[in-house]
């Protein structure tokens, strides 16, 4: 392996260098392909920047690895289980549509037109979210619209590092507003049992109407927790196999990419508030365990709320942020007809992120 690399290295290096100087010396070519080449080059070669000021050595972790870690976790956390439960043909075309529309069309056009920033791997993360929180039977165009809107929204509000709201959730919100029935129908029975080629490709061809949360609201029926945990239940494409999500999420926290405070505080507060509310006499409240294990809560807590850009920067603020998310989630689930509260909770708390941050700073530094 090492030998082959040694052999092709000079050739590849030379070709890339030539291409680079070719592109950069021609403004028109650079205009069209500069960003694309840079993105590709950045994947297989290190940057040539060196440290000009102290410190003169730097840690190897960079923003690419950071995003790459999230991608890996998402892939193992939801894509692999979803293929098992719903079939290859249900999952992969959605991913392709999402990536093509989001990254390769909207983002590339944006980069060419706006000429401000390079193509960013953050777009892949956003686009990997879109199919995950739509029903398995959602049409492909819906996914495309979602991905396009998300990336556009992200770029308009300033690109990676500058958004106020989580772009993927914002895309989902737009879909909910524009196509209210589409996003809450088309649930599919997951496949259960030993996987066959047939099941891995097509999944089970059966449509149901209710997710566990909807079922509870309508009939008061509590789905078995074990089946919820392992994903043998209806739900959005990426949120059902909670074991895998939890493992991937914990891995992210261990790698220090996700901040452990957020899932801990979010899940903890959902449990506590749910328990508190169920003490109110005369009302039927969703029991705490069902709260934890249903809907997109686990997915949201580990992957969406932890998006570092849209939470607060300070660590104390992160606690407040996540407890707020927990409270809003429980309130929406218990007191409103909306079946799922995670999206609204995170978006709402994203909005108050800035005030939380400045209050925390005021208290901490007394300014």
């Amino acid at each position: 392996m090492k030998k082959t690399i040694k052999k092709i290295e000079p050739i590849l290096n030379k070709t890339l260098n030539k291409t680079e100087s070719f592109i950069q010396s021609r403004p028109k070519v650079n205009f069209l392909f500069g960003a694309l080449f840079e993105a590709f080059d950045g994947l297989i070669r290190s940057s040539k920047d060196t440290a000009k000021t102290q410190p003169f050595i730097r840690n190897q972790m960079d923003a690419k690895q950071y995003m790459g870690g999230i991608l890996v976790a998402l892939f193992l956390g939801w894509v692999v289980p979803a293929i098992y439960f719903f079939g290859f043909l249900c999952v992969v075309p959605k991913l392709i549509v999402s990536f093509v529309v989001g990254v390769f069309i909207v983002d590339v056009i944006w980069v060419i037109l706006a000429r401000e920033e390079r193509i960013n791997e953050g777009g892949f993360v956003t686009c990997l979210f879109i199919p995950a929180f739509l029903p398995p039977q959602a049409p492909l165009w819906l996914i495309g619209v979602g991905a396009g809107v998300s990336i556009l929204f992200r770029n308009i509000t300033g690109g990676v590092g500058m958004n106020l709201l989580n772009p993927a959730l914002f895309g989902r919100l737009i879909l909910t507003i524009s196509f209210p029935t589409m996003v809450v129908s088309g649930w599919q029975e997951p496949f259960i049992g030993f996987p066959t080629l047939q099941s891995l490709t097509y999944g089970v061809d059966a449509v149901t109407h209710a997710t566990p949360l909807i079922a509870y609201k309508e009939t008061g029926e509590v789905t078995s927790y074990i089946s919820l945990l392992f994903g043998a239940n209806t739900g959005s494409l990426g949120e059902t196999c909670r074991v895998a999500l939890i493992i991937a999420g914990i891995w992210l926290c261990k790698k220090r990419i996700a901040n452990w405070r957020i899932p801990v505080a979010y899940l903890g507060s959902v449990f506590i508030f749910a328990a508190l509310f169920s003490l109110i006499p005369g009302e039927t409240m969703v029991p705490p365990m069902l709260q934890l294990l249903s809907g997109g809560l686990i997915f949201g807590a580990f992957f969406m709320a932890t998006d570092p850009i849209t939470t607060t920067y300070s660590q104390t603020g992160k606690w407040i942020f996540s407890i707020g998310c927990g409270l809003i989630t429980v309130v929406i689930r218990n007191f409103t007809p909306i079946p799922e509260g995670v999206m609204y909770a995170i978006l709402l708390m994203n909005l108050v992120g800035v005030p939380i941050q400045s209050i925390v700073l005021k208290l901490k530094y007394r300014v």
Partner: protein
């Protein structure tokens, strides 16, 4: 279990550089010949009364002089010298020998002496950079606060390294000639990591001769690549306060499949990534040894509000450089901090 605990500490309030950049020095101590003018040893004794003397035996940077090079004859030797120096120049003061928790043998040896001498105290510190910075060592050992940039002498504390103790002893007490200093040289730009006996006054170029690799570009730093400074002019002279020389390979070209060759790039000047926006990852405030939030300064800075940055306890920063070191977006945080301070 023990290992887990260790790696947890690696990130929180400091960084275990020794683990990340293991540097081995060759056993033999080399000598650098130089016939030009040299600098004589001179220790300026503080005017203020000294109550506490801290002896720093805990190098926290892998490129620093290892204890084994100075304490060749065991710790007894240096403690005896310390006792004589103390009685003569800092009577009634207490001495605190600070040793890294990893050096169990040295700790055991020193503890034996601690029992017999009431002026001697042995302390241990985790080998986490920058625990040996004056501000932190004074805080951790004596519980005293001192602002960054102030001399510890003002609060009656003297921080010495073992070489200086030997120097004071030989030069001021024994009146012997004391003209060489041990300088460790290390880095990817060298053929071998060595400890050299250097006469202060020798230009850096002299030290590099015959030791650097000729096949690559390199850059030279004194006092460590983290918060030391770059030697642009190789005629710059080594002096009595120079701690070490680090020569790093200058990787100013692109490396193919860098993700599989991290070790090649690790101890070079490569940024190991490209400049981005802050992604609020909290790495910088987790690693900051004095619990600051460096990203705040960066945000103030790019908004042009340098004044505002000072509101967030900026003066506490000890300029250790860890925040820039760890930042995945490769922001020049230390530079921003310095500019905001001025």
């Amino acid at each position: 279990m023990a290992k887990e605990k260790k790696s947890k500490k690696v990130y929180k309030n400091g960084f275990n550089l020794l683990e990340k950049y293991p540097i081995e020095f060759s056993e033999k101590v080399g000598t650098v010949k130089y016939d030009g003018p040299i600098e004589a040893f001179d220790f300026s004794f503080p005017r203020k009364k000294i109550d506490h003397v801290i002896i720093n035996l805990c190098p926290m940077e892998p490129w620093a002089l290892p204890n084994s090079a100075v304490l060749k004859n065991g710790v007894r030797n240096i403690l005896d010298k310390l006792d004589i120096v103390r009685t003569r120049y800092f009577p009634k003061s207490h001495c605190y020998v600070v040793i890294s928790t990893q050096e169990t043998k040295l700790i055991k040896e020193s503890k034996q002496h601690e029992g017999h001498e009431e002026w001697l105290h042995v302390h241990t510190l985790d080998p986490i950079y920058p625990n040996d910075a004056p501000v932190l060592i004074v805080k951790k050992i004596l519980g005293l606060d001192i602002a960054y940039g102030r001399n510890t002498v003002e609060i009656g504390v003297l921080v010495l390294d073992p070489q200086t103790v030997v120097g004071i002893f030989e030069h001021h007490i024994r009146k012997n000639e004391f003209s060489t200093r041990l300088i460790p040289i290390s880095g990817t730009g060298l053929r071998e990591n060595k400890i050299l006996e250097v006469k202060p006054g020798t230009p850096v170029q002299k030290i590099l001769d015959g030791n650097v690799r000729e096949d690559i570009k390199y850059r030279v730093f004194v006092d460590g690549p983290l918060n030391g400074s770059e030697v642009k002019d190789l005629t710059q002279k080594i002096d009595w306060s120079t701690k070490n020389v680090v020569v790093l390979e200058e990787r100013d070209y692109k490396t193919l499949f860098h993700f599989a060759r991290v070790s090649e790039l690790l101890f070079t000047t490569s940024l190991m990534g490209e400049l981005r926006c802050c992604i609020y990852c909290n790495y910088c405030d987790d690693i900051c040894p004095v619990d600051l939030e460096p990203a705040l300064y960066w945000h103030c800075y790019i908004r042009g509000e340098k004044q505002k940055a000072r509101l967030y306890a900026l003066e506490k920063c000890i300029e250790c450089g860890l925040c820039s070191f760890i930042c995945p977006s490769k922001l020049e945080l230390l530079q921003v901090i310095k500019e905001c301070k001025s």
